[in-house]
Structure formats: C-alpha cells, structure tokens
C-alpha cells in the first residue's frame, strides 16, 4: 500500500487506555449548518462520551471546524451561519430559545488553531475568564486559580517567575499552553480544540498531547486534527468527516484498523485528503 500512513504502532491496546465511559456528554441529532445558501454540514448525529478524547478527522473543508464551533455556539458570531437540528449537553438543548450563550461558553472552553493570547500579562490572560465570571472574591483566590490552571496546563514551572510579562512574549508552544490554561481557568466541562498543534514544532506538540491525555481525566475533550498519528495517540474515539457528512465514528482503534466505509479507508491510507 504505497504512501499509506501506518498508525498501528501508535495505537494503544484497550487495556492501556482503560474502558471509555459511554455516558454521552454531548449528543447531536441531525445537525445541519448553512453559510448563506451553502450547506456545510449534513445531518450530523453523534454521541460524544464524557471524560474522553474524541478526535474529528477528515479532509480540509469537510466541516470539522464548523461542527466544533456549533458545540459552543461560536457560529453565532458569523452573521451568515444558520444551524438546524439539536445539540444537547447533559441532556439540555443548547440551541433552545432561552439559552444564554455567555454561561454556555463558560462551560465549554475552546483552544484555537493559532495561539491567541491577549495583549496582557501571562497572569492576566489566565485571570481574564475568572474575572469576567466573578469566580474569585479575593486576590488570593484569583492567584490560586491562576496557579492551578497554569499547573494543569503544565506551564507553571516555566512561567512562575515571569507572570507579569506579556503572554505574547512566550514561545509558540508556551502560548498555546497559556491558552489552554486560560480555558481551564473558568472550570469548563468540555474543551474544544481546533488543530491546537498545527502551529507548533514536534516537541511542543508532544507536550500538548501529553497534556491532553492528562486533561481527559477531568474534562470532555474534542479535538480536530489533520494528523492521523495524533488522533491515534490522543483519542479514544474518532469521527471521520467527509464533504459535510459524518461518515463513520467509533473507538479509535476500530476506525484506524477496521474502518467499515471505503471513504474512511481511503483517507486513513492517504488516498484522499
């Protein structure tokens, strides 16, 4: 199979990964997204399990980011975007009329493709969310949230002596971990990551992957990635998208070893993409 990507070496056995709880955190049914007249997603229905990493893979333009942005309603910020269908988090329809996006987004953190620290100190970057949501009553409480978030993002030791320096002065990988710390600081239940490593070098990428593996103990993580090795390394479940359709989903090993759809087969062996 020339040009095939061999991911079997990085897949871990089920025993190592541990059983994935199948309590679904996020349930979507028949989600369609339109940008103006253009339909970007067709009837996407998926259950995303709690405290596990779910990877979205698929060729460029297939709608992975679009779907991810439905889950925290970031598509609301695009005037032309229109969505139909149902998305439930813990059984609650997030597109119901009376849902306020502000607390919703506080429950669902997001990490973007390019690190996007604010033009503030590292400390203030992490403190931003807790401040706007009033999570700390005293400076000491805020300090504590900032420290524990930076620890969870594996960044504390590197920045503890320069918390007052601008977040933008950190390296790319550190900036991305700062953004993860910023998301973690508001204690979200879900963390959405849209190609979080695509702007990073292999070492910084490995660091973030380790971190994702640690975070899944406490958070439901959805990650979009173009690297099949990365999907295989960090996720327990994988969903393959193609031209706006959710083609196939299941435990990561199954998707990579015994895909049932020929399109998935072709994508993971490098024939489409």
């Amino acid at each position: 199979m020339p040009g095939a990507i061999d991911v079997s070496s990085v897949l871990r056995s089920g025993a190592e990964v541990g059983p994935v709880s199948m309590r679904p955190k996020i349930v979507t049914r028949d989600v369609n997204v339109f940008y103006g007249e253009k339909r970007a997603l067709n009837d996407v229905s998926i259950d995303i399990p709690e405290r596990a990493v779910t990877a979205f893979i698929g060729p460029s333009g297939c709608g992975k980011s679009t779907f991810l942005r439905c889950i925290n309603r970031m598509n609301d910020t695009i005037p032309t975007a229109r969505i139909t269908g149902r998305i439930e988090i813990d059984g609650e329809n997030i597109y119901a009329k009376d849902v306020d996006v502000v607390p919703l987004r506080a429950r669902i953190g997001m990490v973007f493709q390019k690190p996007n620290p604010f033009a503030k100190s590292a400390y203030e970057n992490v403190a931003y969310g807790p401040r706007i949501h009033g999570l700390a009553r005293t400076r000491a409480e805020l300090d504590e949230i900032v420290e524990s978030s930076l620890r969870k993002a594996g960044l504390w030791d590197e920045v503890k002596d320069r918390l007052q320096q601008p977040g933008t002065s950190l390296s790319g990988g550190q900036q991305q971990r700062l953004c993860i710390a910023r998301a973690v600081a508001v204690s979200p239940e879900v963390i959405l990551m849209d190609e979080p490593c695509s702007a990073l070098d292999p070492i910084a990428t490995a660091r973030i992957e380790e971190l994702i593996d640690e975070l899944r103990q406490n958070y439901t993580i959805v990650i979009v990635t173009h690297s099949m090795q990365q999907a295989a390394r960090v996720s327990q479940r994988t969903a393959f998208f193609h031209l706006g359709n959710l083609v196939e989903q299941g435990p990561t090993e199954e998707i990579f070893t015994t895909p049932s759809d020929p399109r998935t087969q072709n994508y993971i062996t490098g024939r489409i993409g």
Binding site: V102, L104, R107, Y128
Partner: protein, 302 residues
C-alpha cells in the same frame, strides 16, 4: 522586432532620464525646503525676540501685554488658554470619539459602518470659521441658560466646539486601530464566555491602546493648533486662569490678532508672534512625534 537604438540615441535617453529624475527630486524636495525655511524664519525671528526678552522671563512671567505701554512678555497666560481649551476639547472628544470608535468597530454592522464613517469624516470638512460662529452664537447662548454669569466670550464653549471638531479624527483613527486587532483575540474572549461589551473594553481596546493613544495625540495636536474657534469665541485677552468659564486668549488667537496688523513690522511686539509661533510648533510637533512613535509601536505588535 524593434530596431536597436544607436549609441547617440542611448546617450540622449540616459540624459533625459537624469533630467526628469532631477525635476521630480526638486518637486519632492521643495515641500521639505519650505518647511525648513519656515522653521529657520521662526527660529531666526525668535532669536531676535529672545535677545530682548530673556527666555526665563518668557517662560515664567505671568502677564502677556505686548500692546501695552509697559509691555510684558510671559507666555504662561497664552499657554494656559491653549491648554485649557485643549483640555475642554479632550473632555468632549475623548469619550465621544472613543465611544463612536468602539461602536463602529465592534458593534455596527458593515452597512452602518460603511455609511457612518464618511459622514463622520465629512465633519472635518466643515470650515473652522463656521465652527467658530457656531460656538459664539449657538453654544455660548445655550450654555448661558444654565451656567450662571457666563460671559459672551469664554474658553468653555470654544473648547466644546473644538472637541466636536476633533471627534472625527479621534473616532476614525481609533476605529482603525481597533479594527486592526485580529479577530482571533475577539474569538478567544467570546469563547471564554465574555460578552461583546466585555470583549470590546477588556480585550480589543487594550490591544489597540497605542493606536488609540496615537489618535488622541493627533487630536490634541489639532486642538492645540486650532485658531478660528478660539479667536472668535474665547475673547482675545490673555488671561492667566484655570477657569474655563472665563474669556482668554490662546497662542494661536494671539498670533492672528497681531498678524492682522495691530503692531508695526519689525518691533519687538511683532517679533513676539514668532516666539509664540515657535512655542506652538514645538507643542504640536511633540504631540505628532509622540503619536508617530505610538503608531509605529502599535504596528510592530501586529
């Protein structure tokens, strides 16, 4: 295929090129020469002035009475009038300009923004003399209805009108600075559950702060140099005061007053306008340089 040029033709062509280049250079250089010439004249005449009036007196004397029998040449009253009218202007243009900029950059839909900005910029096309009469004949009478004993000439109404005048500068330049903030930062803030207002004030504005400060510095520089409005509406007596309700003269108002011919050419009173002009130039120049530096720094950030 075109025939090739002979050696003579080529020499002529080269010479023509060089002449044209020289002409273009002269055109470009002339504006620089004129500016330099103005500065030289200013410095030259000011030097003559300072030969009679020590700089220390000029900077510390509290009276400016070049037209009196016993002339005094202390720039402080004029400086004070200038700064007072500028401060009033800033109190008006700062909040309003910034609010307009935030609205246009962060909240207005594209069609609203596209139609509002030209209108805003049109405001800066109104001749300043119109603003001057507006201050004297509309704003002052209006203020008099609730500010007791407000004289017909006062710094307050001149300052307010200058403020209205510089709103377009402040708003338009601040808006440019805020729109230059990458959307990724807005998304980052919104995704954390911030409202659009929180995002505008706590993320976009701080990111654009040097650009916004540059807009303010340019606005201040305009207010400092503004002449017509103060000459018409603020009265023309130099008056060392910190009360904007009083009449006072600014540096610019003094210069027009004298330049209109109250003083004999060549006298020390005449030279005093050059000293005043030099002071003004240094003030506006320093604000412009400051703004330039801020904008350069802002551009570096993104």
């Amino acid at each position: 295929m075109a025939s090739r040029l002979t050696a003579t033709q080529r020499r002529w062509q080269r010479r023509r090129e060089r002449i044209m280049e020289g002409v273009l250079f002269l055109c470009a250089a002339s504006s620089v020469f004129v500016t330099i010439a103005i500065v030289v004249v200013l410095v030259w005449e000011s030097a003559a002035f300072f030969a009679h009036v020590p700089i220390a007196t000029f900077l510390t004397d509290t009276m400016w009475t070049p037209l009196f029998a016993d002339p005094r040449y202390g720039i402080l009253p004029l400086l004070c009038g200038t700064m007072l009218s500028t401060a009033v202007a800033l109190c008006v243009a700062g909040p309003l300009g910034l609010t307009a900029a935030i609205y246009l950059s962060e909240f207005a839909s594209a069609p609203v923004r596209e139609s509002t900005k030209p209108v805003l910029e049109l405001l800066s096309g109104v001749p300043t003399v119109v603003y001057g009469f507006f201050a004297l004949l509309v704003v002052t009478p209006f203020l008099q209805t609730f500010v007791p004993n407000l004289p017909g000439f006062n710094i307050l109404s001149a300052g307010i009108v200058i403020g209205i005048m510089i709103i377009p500068y402040v708003a338009s330049l601040s808006e440019d600075a805020m729109r230059a903030v990458p959307n990724a930062l807005r998304d980052g803030s919104l995704a954390l559950g911030a409202t659009r207002l929180e995002t505008a004030f706590k993320v976009v504005l701080p990111s654009a702060i040097s650009g916004v400060a540059a807009a303010f510095a340019l606005g201040i520089s305009r207010a400092v140099g503004e002449t017509m409005v103060v000459a018409i509406a603020a009265g023309q007596q130099p008056n060392l005061t910190f009360d904007p309700r009083e009449p006072a003269a600014t540096i610019t108002a003094y210069i027009v007053q004298v330049a209109l011919g109250d003083l004999p050419h060549g006298g020390i009173g005449y030279q005093s306008i050059f000293a005043a002009g030099l002071t003004l130039l240094l003030m506006t120049l320093s604000f412009n340089v400051f703004a330039f530096w801020l904008r350069a720094r802002f551009r570096e950030a993104y």
